[in-house]
Structure formats: C-alpha cells, structure tokens
C-alpha cells in the first residue's frame, strides 16, 4: 500500500466564525472564532461547561449552530455529515461501543466503514490492547475504553481528527501513549482538534491553544505566547521590609511596576532583561539592601488559565 501525500491545503482544516449555540436560555457558545491549520494541533482548553464539547459536536455535525459560519475541510458540517465523516475521525467523549462487543470486534466494525483502514491487529497491539482483544467492552477499564475509542477515531486514516478529552481517566502511561500518537498524527499531516482541561496536555501537544470560558474565547496563542504573557513577566526577590516601591518603579524603564506583596517580598512586573535585573539589584544596593532569592517567573499555562477563568470551583 503506497500512501499518497495529502493535497496541500491552503484552506484551514476547521474554520469557525461567530458561532452561537443556545440551549433554552443558556448560551453554551457565544460568538466563538476558531481556526485549525492543516497538519497542526489545536487544543480547546476550558473548565467544565465552558462550551468545548458543544463546539466540537457542531464541527462534527452532531449539533447545529444557532448562528455563525462553520467550515470543516471546506464543508458545512450541518449539511453533509456523510460526505464529511468519510474524511474525519471522531473520538466522542466516553467512547461508545456495544456493551457486549469484544474490543477487536468493535474496531473491525468501525474499520469496515473506511476504504483503506489501518491494520486492526497492529493498531490493537500498538495501543496496548492486545491483552484485552477478546474482553467485552463493558468489562474494559476506563483507560482501555478510551484507547479503543482513540483507535476507532484513527483507524480510517482521516485528514482531520476530533478528540474530546482523549486522556480522561487514563493512567500516566496511557496519557503519554496518546500524546505520542497525536504527535505522530501531526507529523504525518493530520490536523487534530482536541479538548482538554489538562494544561500539561495542551502545553505538550498543541501548536495553538484556545482558552474558552462561558462559550467565549478568553485567550489564544501558542503555549509559549500564552505563558510568556506577551511582554509580561515578573521578577520576585526578598529584601528588607518597607522599601519605597514607587521609587523603585521610577528607577526602571516605563511600563514596569513594583510592589511589596508581603513584608520583605517584592515583585516587579514588566519585561525582565539583564539591564532591568541590574537596575533592580543596583537600586537595592543604593538603599543599603541586598536583593536575595531573585527569581524570574515564567507563568505556567495553569496560571494563565486560572487567572483567566477564576479559581472558584465549577459544578
């Protein structure tokens, strides 16, 4: 079998503009814009109820939008799901299989729906399911069910894969296996749209991260862009208490702020470069103080996420 290279698509794999979806009085998705480039990975990140799954299900053609434009591989998913589904792979949240079906049997049914599926036995083995090929679906562990669902999503050699919380309920080994698979998909030219609420996952896999809350995009960019916060960085140090932070801020280039967060602990926000660092330590020396325990913090995606979506628990 000689795989033909995918056509070079100038168009995005998924394009969503102004998407709105309401359930009664609740607006699940509220004017959302998305763009997934070919052969890249987009992570939709957000707390429970942010509208991630609703967005994905509209792209898959399972739900219809109330407003907005959605184009998946150049096709309107609301109009032509059969034509579209022959080209995409879907991993619904929680998988889905006949309760009594054996793992391999289920994968064979899904493989039969594709013209040139991957080898079923190989896929079962490589996803670590060879030990439970003949186990009924309802007796598989949560992680095994997830891996079977993932196998079903990729077995048909799709151009585009939707993965809704692909690593939910998986142990660390399973999670790394899935990550390896997603990287291999991207490398081979498959576009991947995944939802997750694991920051680590988005950071490890995605070319582009879209953080959603209450149906809206609250931030987006590459993991590096999001975590560097543009030019915003911070430097923390310890020194004697009660120094004049306004004077410190004046000693720094414009756009920098300084504050004493608790007694003897200071934070400077702004672009931190060697000149700024030297200005801070020099200013402290002028005050007869030693800047100790100096740390330049790179915000984690988790910090960004919690800053944007708040820290209260969602039900």
């Amino acid at each position: 079998m000689t795989p033909t290279p995918p056509p070079l698509l100038a168009a995005p794999a998924v394009s969503v503009r102004g998407l709105v979806k309401r359930y009664g009085r609740t607006t699940a998705v509220d004017g959302l814009d998305l763009r997934l480039e070919p052969a890249s990975v987009l992570a939709l990140l957000g707390p429970n109820g942010a509208g991630k799954s609703t967005t994905v299900e509209i792209c898959e053609g399972f739900l219809t939008a109330d407003a907005g434009e959605v184009s998946v591989l150049g096709i309107d998913p609301a109009g032509a799901p059969d034509a579209l589904r022959a080209r995409i792979g879907i991993m619904p949240q929680g998988g889905g299989a006949y309760p009594g079906v054996k793992a391999e049997e289920m994968l064979r049914v899904v493989a039969a729906c594709s013209a040139t599926p991957l080898d079923v036995r190989w896929l079962i083995d490589v996803l670590g399911l060879d030990g439970c090929r003949r186990t009924p679906f309802k007796r598989l562990s949560g992680g095994q069910q997830q891996r079977l669902a993932l196998a079903c999503a990729v077995v048909g050699r799709p151009e585009l894969v939707f993965l809704d919380e692909p690593t939910a309920g998986m142990d660390p080994q399973g999670r790394h296996l899935v990550w390896e698979l997603v990287r291999a998909l991207r490398r081979d030219g498959v576009a991947v749209l995944l939802t997750t609420h694991l920051m680590e996952e988005a950071e490890a896999l995605a070319d582009h991260v879209v953080i959603m809350d209450h149906g809206k995009v609250v931030a987006e960019g590459s993991p590096a862009e999001l975590t560097s916060g543009g030019d915003q960085q911070e430097l923390r140090f310890r020194a004697r208490t009660g120094m004049d932070v306004d004077a410190l801020a004046r000693a720094l280039p414009t756009g920098h702020s300084a504050a004493e967060t608790v007694a003897g602990r200071y934070v400077v926000r702004g672009r931190i470069d060697p000149a700024v660092l030297s200005a801070i330590t020099g200013w402290c020396a002028d005050q007869g103080a030693l800047a100790d325990d100096v740390q330049v913090a790179r915000r984690s995606l988790e910090d960004v996420f919690l800053d944007l979506t708040g820290r209260e628990l969602r039900s």
Binding site: G96, R108, V110, S114, R157
Partner: protein
C-alpha cells in the same frame, strides 16, 4: 514557532513516519452492512439472556405444550402449538430483544459511535433490520425442525402466507420495539419490554388460542399484533387457508403507526 516540547518517551519510535498519512474514504456498502449486521447478529446469539428469550423459552414451551396436557388443545397437539410458538419467537426477537438491545446500545453510545463513521444513517437502520431477520431465520429453522421431529406437518398451501405473516410480524413488532427502546431509559426499557412480552404471551393470543380466551379479551387480543400474528399463522399452517384480511390489516396498521411515531420521537443517540 517551536515551543519546547516535553518528550519523555524512550526507545524506538512506536509509530513509523507515514503511518497515519491521510487516505480517507468510505468503505463499500456491502462491507459495512456485513460488518455491522454480522456483529449485531453474533452479539444477539451469544448474549445469554437474549438466547433464553429468543430460543430457550420457545423450545421449552414447544416441547412442554406438545408433550404435557397442560392446556386443552386440538390433536395433534404439535400442530396446534407450533404456530403460536413461531409468533412468540418473532415477538421475542423483533420486540423485546430489539427494544432492550437498542436501549442499552444507546446508553453505551454505540449508535453515536457508528453515526460518527462514514456509515450512512439508512444503512445503520438496515443493518439492525438485517441482524433481526437473521436471528428470526435461525429461530424459525430451529423451531420448525424441532416441531417436525415432534410430528408437526404444516399445511403446504399455507407456507407462503406464513412467510408473509412472519415478515409483517417482524415489521409491526420491530417498529414497536424500536419505539420503546429508542424513547426510554435502558433500565425502564428492560422492565417494560419483559412485562409486555409476558402479558402478550399469556393473554395476547400467543399460547392460548383466541377461541379459548374470555370473549372480551379475545376481541382485544385479535387487534394486538400478537393475536393477529398467532391466529393468522394457525389458520395458514394448520388449515392451509389464507389468514383473511383481518390479521394482515392489524399487523400492517401496527407497523405503520409504530414506525410513524418512532420516526418522530426516537433519537438515535
């Protein structure tokens, strides 16, 4: 821009380059139908409770009612018993088993899983019907062979009518089964499907001919798919006569009404 990527995987690469190079396309219609219907038929025939319902109980009733004088029946007893047992087999598979299977398939997300593939919606329905008919064929073959062994000699002239009635029964009970299994929660479907099966078995004209039921009940049962089918099969296979317009119309009406309501209410997900 290249973000630093965590990569803690060791050893040779698990997925060789080019493994997932896109090569999409829909499978052949025949291949999809074979895979789905074949799997659903195998699942039905290896599921203990379903086999109890679709084969064991009909076999036990066929042998028991033929050999033991529990009910007063016309001689030869096997000729009186077999048509009702064939109706029971159809009801068990097309209605009870179908409803329960659909209820649990929905709960386990398989309808959605299949809808997510290139399998067209009409083929998904066709696959389920094919699987249902395959099980009915197995039942009819097993039960007819057993009845023949017990001395059953059906009226040859009625065989064509019998086939028609079995197909109409599949349609009527199948539509009602899909309606039930596609509308309610799986555990409620399980309870309702079994209770209806039991009531129709005793009071719906299946094992006790309409003529032996209290007259009010007999009138009602003649209008039920169970009564219409069993009575039609008795006429066709015992006397070799056509079942008349009544049973055919009753079964047709249930099939049309059931299917119409099912199309409007059933959510295949």
């Amino acid at each position: 821009m290249t973000a630093p990527r965590l990569d803690r995987t060791a050893g040779p690469e698990r997925f060789a380059p080019g493994t997932f190079t896109p090569q999409p396309g829909r499978g052949s219609l025949g291949g999809m139908l074979r895979a789905q219907a074949g799997t659903e038929t195998r699942l039905a025939l290896r599921h203990g409770e379903q086999v109890l319902l679709t084969l064991m109980i009909p076999v036990i009733l066929l042998v028991g009612l033929t050999l033991l004088p529990i009910l007063p029946l016309a001689e030869p007893r096997v000729d009186s018993v077999t048509p009702g047992i064939l109706a029971l087999a159809v009801m068990s598979t097309a209605f009870t088993s179908q409803a329960i299977t659909l209820g649990f398939d929905r709960r386990y997300g398989v309808i959605r899983r299949l809808a997510a593939t290139a399998l067209p919606r009409w083929l998904l329905v066709a696959g389920r019907l094919t699987s249902m008919l395959a099980v009915v064929v197995v039942q009819v073959v097993v039960l007819s062979a057993l009845a023949a062994f017990l001395g059953w000699r059906p009226a040859g002239a009625g065989i064509c009518w019998a086939v028609l009635l079995v197909l109409l029964g599949c349609a009527a009970f199948g539509a009602l089964g899909v309606l039930l299994g596609g509308s309610l929660r799986s555990d409620i479907v399980l309870a309702v499907a079994n209770v209806v099966w039991f009531v129709l078995l005793l009071a719906g004209g299946i094992v006790i001919p309409l003529a032996d039921l209290p007259s009010g009940l007999a009138t009602v049962s003649a209008l039920l798919p169970s009564g219409a089918m069993a009575e039609g099969l008795r006429d066709a296979l015992t006397d070799g006569t056509g079942p008349g317009v009544g049973p055919v119309l009753v079964l047709l009406a249930w099939a049309v009404v059931g299917a119409t309501v099912a199309v409007r209410t059933v959510r295949l997900r």
